[in-house]
Amino acid sequence: MADFGGTDLEGFRTEVRSWVEANFPASLKGKPNPMAREERHDPTPDQEAWRKAVGEKGWGTPTWPKAYGGGGLSSAEARIVQGEFARAGAYNPIGGMGVMMFGPTLLEYGTEAQKLEHIPPICRGEIAWCQGFSEPGAGSDLASLQTKAEDKGDHFVINGQKIWTSGAQWADWCFCLVRTDTSKKHEGISFVLFTMHQPGVEVRPIPLIAGSSPFCETFFTDAIAHKKDLVGPLNGGWTIAKRLLQHERSGLTGAGGGLGSGGKPLEQLAKEYVGLDEQGRLDDQDLRTRLVTNAMNWRAFQQTAVRAMMEAKGNSGPSSATSIMKNAGTQLIQERHEMALEIMGHQGLGWEGDAFKREELEAVRGWLFGKAFTIFGGSQEVQSNIVSKRILGLPDLTQAN
């Protein structure tokens, strides 16, 4: 921001606008990002062209350094790119866990060689990453993980099991926490990268209450991770994992912001399904109060996100407001899911079939899947522990992190 005055920013906006006009395929206008759900998809030529065009510019990861394939933009310029995409009805085709969590972490902790190898394909949207963190016996107490990596000179041999590995069935690479020292808990964990396309990796999708899901069980039987793909020091993976979880949490809180269903604001749905009384108020006073309370809290939540960002920039150092974001955001989203169902009444209970509109079916699946928001990425209870101990300085009797 410092090196650009207002006039230059306007010039940049003009440049972005004409580039989007020249490169964004009209057929994709207003369409959601096909990669947003971390599902497999067979891209159309237009989708493929748009991904490549944005990937080459680095504008899908606008603030990442140019040297590794990012856009090298200031945050003010990045907002302009975002704004111009939105104006044209264009989605950002570059996304997923590589962008949200792994990339920022590797940029911070990776060696030059690691960054040069792994970051550019993320910026171009070529490689899908999955996260090998949780295990059947290591959920909220993540550091008790058991998946073992044995040192074999130039590589590690990995044996064990991960769970809730989102998108593992479509992933090309895995960033994974493994145990390299069994005599210590947190200090015995290392952070390694390996390809999913190898014989020692087996993936089984897990059906959830919402039906099919991107979650998987992932089994490692003598899987190989090369030494060059150890991130940070041996047994020094926990620090990196915690940093990555911060990226995950800040990413998760932003997810599903505009949620009602089918992208339609909840207030609009309520007007359609419930109607207004003669005074122009929702014809369900109880719902109206809960709806407006949620809407106001959501607005305050967004204001807090902006404030945290400005404080981080202006006051040097991260804002304490950041720590509350995951719990506050996910709880508000879950309330909205519940209200979407309530607003639709019986039409909000369909599982499948022609009796229901697409937005109605999506509301049901969204409601069920949304229950995961307060469980994954650090459960609501773990988040409350973090706030009370790390931010408020209350004593930690469990000594757990």
Binding site: L282, R307, E311, L394, P395
Partner: protein, 362 residues
């Protein structure tokens, strides 16, 4: 905390140190015990006025510093921490806004310099019943004389001049009425929060009209609401910090009670609500400074969110302190009482939720 300019940081620091040194909660307790009729300590108010706080939003040509509403909010937040009682919201914020936005040159010239130097206290007289309903006005003006009853007028006993809502020809307008007019009769209210308030009867009192009608009234109220939300932010923050400190020192079952997860998670909840409320309050004050079109919804958001938050924290302050929190010797009760009075002032949470929904079209 918003990112502040150098002047704003200096103003806040000055307020912080004055409040800590000159106006701790013990000063409020002393004022309450003295039973002073106007509901604040005049000497303390004079010091505040000398430091320029009564003129923070008033233009320089009328003796103020024209620092804006966010700046005044910073002062109010610090005063709120120790429950400092003063007519700053009624006079230097509410009535001053009415004059700045709706006063003629001569009205401004007559009143603003005196409000800015603290020699005149002005108060808003806008409510007529137990609930805030500014659009419901029975008071009337005809031939320049105002007749009607106003209730819960904050700083009503101290006021030298009132800004009164009344109808003339069926239309709501705001009027200046001098307190020493023979047609003005006021009755002191003794309220739970020990702050100054009065019911005021106007009986053909001389009324000097401001320009702007119902729209001006809403603008003035929004500024007062945002200001009281800032005071509540300070009070709630202090109440939370005092409670957190108690959780870290009170020992039961051989350990500090703050080590119990049941209390930790409630503390985390309070902290979360406080962070959200702070954002809403700062956003509302900033919107007023920018004269942004979404001032009404942002102000309603700030007042409702801050009201819910102070409500929660003031209850938890008593509960978490246990028996000691129930005693008059402890400060927890002061925060609890102030919370409810501030919640009700210029529209409680229900009022502002309803208003927000209406603005959003449902």
């Amino acid at each position: 905390m918003a990112v502040l300019t150098e002047e704003q940081s200096m103003l806040r620091d000055a307020a912080k140190s004055w409040v800590q040194e000159k106006s701790p909660v013990t000063a409020f307790r002393k004022m309450r015990d003295s039973g002073v009729e106007i509901g604040y300590d005049v000497a303390a108010w004079n010091e505040m006025a000398e430091m320029g706080w009564a003129g923070v939003i008033i233009p320089e040509e009328y003796g103020g510093s024209n620092f804006g509403y966010l700046s005044l909010g910073l002062v109010l937040e610090e005063l709120g921490r120790t429950l400092t009682a003063s007519p700053l919201i009624a006079s230097g914020l509410g009535a001053a806004s009415a004059l700045i936005l709706g006063g003629s040159e001569s009205q401004k010239g007559e009143w603003l310099p005196k409000i800015a130097d603290g020699s005149v206290v002005a108060a808003l007289a806008v409510d007529e019943g137990p609930h805030h309903k500014p659009e419901k006005v029975e008071a009337t003006v005809s031939g320049g004389k105002l007749t009607g009853k106003k209730v819960f007028v904050l700083e009503g006993m101290a006021a030298n001049v009132f800004v009164v809502s009344a109808k003339e020809g069926g239309k709501i307008e705001l009027y200046l009425v001098k307190a020493d007019d023979a047609g003005v009769k006021r009755t002191k209210l003794s309220l739970a929060d020990s702050r100054g308030a009065a019911n005021v009867e106007f009986n053909g009192a001389a009324a000097d009209k401001l320009t702007g009608g119902a729209e001006l009234l809403e603008k003035v109220l929004d500024r007062a609401r945002a200001g009281i939300a800032a005071e509540m932010l300070g009070a709630a923050t202090q109440a939370f910090e005092v409670t957190l400190d108690y959780l870290k020192t009170r020992v039961q079952f051989g350990q500090v009670i703050g080590s119990f997860q049941a209390l930790q998670h409630r503390a985390a909840k309070m902290f979360t609500e406080l962070e959200l409320a702070r954002s809403a309050v700062e956003a509302a004050l900033t919107a007023i400074d920018n004269d942004s079109p979404d001032v009404p919804e942002l102000v309603s958001l700030s007042k409702a969110k801050m009201g819910d938050t102070f409500h929660l924290i003031s209850n938890e302050m008593v509960q978490m302190h246990g028996g000691i929190g129930m005693t008059d010797a402890h400060d927890a009760g002061f925060y609890l009482k102030r919370a409810r009075a501030a919640e009700a002032a210029f529209g409680n949470q229900a009022y502002h939720r309803d208003r927000y929904a209406k603005i959003q079209g449902y």
